[in-house]
């Protein structure tokens, strides 16, 4: 096969793997915003915590799969506690106080991570069963990245299934459009809030664990990731799963191809895409209604 074609296929798959990692983040952020009306600026921090916790758990147990399950669970529990103690008193106040609160949390997590895990760059190796590469359409592709793609698509499918086909999902969707009505129907909205926040945060942590073998762990990964996630939800629109999904694919692919083709301007390509969306469709590509 033509070398150029195989190069593009590999980059396309790389982009897809990256996009799906970002999707886990954007979906969590979007879900939390849709339900709680909170833009969680500590979302990148939970991603970072997930990655570092996964790293430590992998160090203790030597098993990647244990880390993959345990780290998001722990971060989810942490999120649950934080929601109850800090966010709940603020629901009656405006957006700003909530955003500022999560900003303060991000500050604390940044320093905490530096304190516990140090400032040096760390890397995680993929589980032994997923080391090495496969040949797809004549091009060599790492097995682990293929795992990310399959895993990401699976999680996306499960999320869709839960949101669209279960009773819990119906409650969450109803809550996104009208919280008071839902609580008026006798549903414990506080519990739903807590669950949504915990699962959104756990999704971020899950993304962190899965990303660790591909992207290294370093201080600053929290906001690098948060910014990408914010760009995705601006492009895709907050509060919809579809917007997060297609926004992630657009930004993820743009980032990967930008880094390969124009390494010096990669960042500006993403911002260029976002600027174009803002100019032509300020309410986001997939958002219903006006800005």
């Amino acid at each position: 096969m033509n070398e150029a074609v195989s190069f593009y296929i590999v980059q396309l798959l790389n982009g897809l793997a990256y996009s799906l990692l970002l999707f886990l983040l954007a979906a969590g952020l979007s879900l939390i915003f849709g339900m709680l009306d909170v833009v969680n600026l500590a979302h990148g921090s939970f991603y970072m915590l997930g990655a570092y916790l996964g790293y430590s758990i992998l160090g203790w147990t030597g098993n990647f799969w244990v880390a993959l399950i345990l780290a998001p669970l722990l971060v989810g529990v942490l999120g649950m506690l934080l929601e109850g103690t800090f966010l709940r008193p603020l629901y009656k106040r405006g957006h700003l106080d909530q955003v500022l609160l999560t900003f303060g949390l991000a500050y604390i997590f940044m320093d905490l991570a530096k304190w516990i895990w140090g400032a040096e760059v760390r890397s995680v190796s993929p589980p032994p069963s997923l080391e090495g590469s496969l040949e797809i359409l004549g091009s060599v592709f790492p097995k682990y990245r293929l795992f990310i793609i399959i895993f990401g698509l699976l999680v996306a499918f499960i999320l869709w299934l839960i949101l669209e086909k279960t009773r819990l999902g119906a409650i969450v969707r109803a809550g996104v459009s009208d919280k008071e009505m839902v609580s008026g129907l006798g549903i414990n909205i506080n519990l739903v809030f807590r669950l949504v926040f915990a699962s959104g945060v756990a999704l971020a942590a899950l993304s962190g664990v899965v990303a660790a073998p591909v992207l290294s762990l370093y201080p600053g990964m929290d906001f690098d990731t948060l910014i990408l996630t914010l760009i995705i939800v601006v492009v895709g629109g907050l509060g919809t799963l579809g917007g997060s999904f297609f926004g992630s694919i657009l930004i993820g692919e743009a980032d990967v191809f930008g880094k390969v083709l124009l390494p010096d301007y990669a960042l500006f390509i993403i911002f260029g895409v976002m600027a174009a969306v803002l100019v032509f469709r300020p309410s986001g590509l997939f958002r219903k209604g006006g800005a």
Partner: protein, 338 residues
């Protein structure tokens, strides 16, 4: 809040109160002018210099946050761009104060115009996310464009400014007292200008937007233009603060544009009290004092700062000015009773 008639305005002797305010202001300014000559330690002079610099920075953020009601989480971008603009001009061309400072204002204002034009196509939480995202873009750019900015090492060797007349021999800004007086002068000028802006018809429109943007739109104000103007002015003053800081420490680094810096100035505004001019300055003072004290005991200042931030957001969202107002109200109620 700003548009509610304050309690004392209903009282007789309001004009006496006004005059008291001016006397107090004159007294404070006089004391600040004399401060370095009262056998003060250079530590205190430097601390106050920093308070003025960050006071300007915090006031500029408050113009958009507290007076226009737009939350920007990327205000450090303009601080940092001002620092780099002033630094690059000073290092490569001339340390003349009347060239470096306008350069910083120009670059910061242009960047604010660019960000504002795009970010103000949205509002609310989207605006907030976009300001944060754009500031991180500038942050990444300072890393990438090593030929211009010195990359991750930062831009070092920025000289203190020089006046176009007389040069070093007249006023030497390497002297910490002279530099203190320079920052004091710029600070007072900024305070006065911002005060005039807020109390002008334009400023009243901004406050109107904060209180009820839809109503302002319905009356016929093109609120987006007012918001953009407010954002650009705030960016320009942020640039002034950045330039002064670059002169002060002789160094501009990507950290000046980092989100943590945006967070830091937000804390100052929140601690002091958003929606007032003096609040952010007091917040900057308290913040820098705390930072100085805490940093001498522990390296974990960011954690403590985050905790202070959260405490203020949860318990005292109106900051020190709000706390003072509450206490004063209580005292006044007591006095009226007896």
């Amino acid at each position: 809040m700003q548009n509610v008639v304050p309690f004392q305005e209903l009282q007789p002797g309001k004009r006496a109160n006004e005059w008291k305010k001016y006397y107090l202001a004159a007294l404070v300014i006089g004391l600040l002018l004399l401060f370095p000559f009262m056998n003060t330690s250079s530590y205190l002079i430097n601390l106050l210099t920093e308070v003025f610099i960050f006071g300007i920075f915090a006031m500029s953020l408050d113009l958009i946050l507290g007076f226009t009601g737009m939350a920007s989480l990327g205000h450090a971008a303009f601080f940092g761009l001002g620092a780099y603009a002033a630094g690059i001009v000073a290092v490569r061309y001339s340390p003349d104060l009347f060239i470096t400072l306008p350069a910083a204002v120009l670059v910061a204002a242009l960047a604010a115009l660019l960000v504002g034009l795009l970010a103000l196509r949205t509002s609310g939480v989207y605006f907030l996310m976009l300001t944060l995202a754009f500031s991180q873009m500038f942050y990444a750019a300072t890393f990438k464009w090593t030929w211009l900015t010195g990359g991750s090492d930062g831009l070092s060797g920025i000289p203190r400014p020089v006046l176009p007349f007389g040069g070093d021999s007249l006023i030497n800004f390497f002297d910490s007292t002279n530099f203190y007086l320079l920052t004091l002068a710029v600070f007072l000028a900024s305070y006065f200008l911002l005060w005039r802006i807020i109390h002008s018809p334009f400023g009243q429109v901004l406050i109107g937007i904060r209180e009820n943007e839809k109503r302002m739109l319905a009356i016929g104000y093109e609120t987006r233009k007012f918001k953009l103007a407010s954002f650009v002015i705030a960016g320009a003053f942020g640039g002034v603060a950045g330039a002064l800081n670059a002169f002060y420490i002789g160094y501009a680094s990507p950290q000046d544009l980092f989100w943590a810096m945006s967070g830091q100035v937000l804390v100052m505004v929140i601690m002091g009290g958003a929606g007032t001019l003096i609040g952010p300055v007091l917040g900057a003072g308290l913040f820098l004092m705390l930072q100085n004290v805490v940093s001498s005991y522990t390296e974990r200042w960011p954690i403590i700062m985050g905790a202070i931030f959260i405490t203020f957001v949860l318990a005292a969202p109106k900051g020190m000015v709000g706390i003072y107002g509450k206490v004063a109200e209580k005292v006044r109620c007591r006095l009226w009773k007896h």
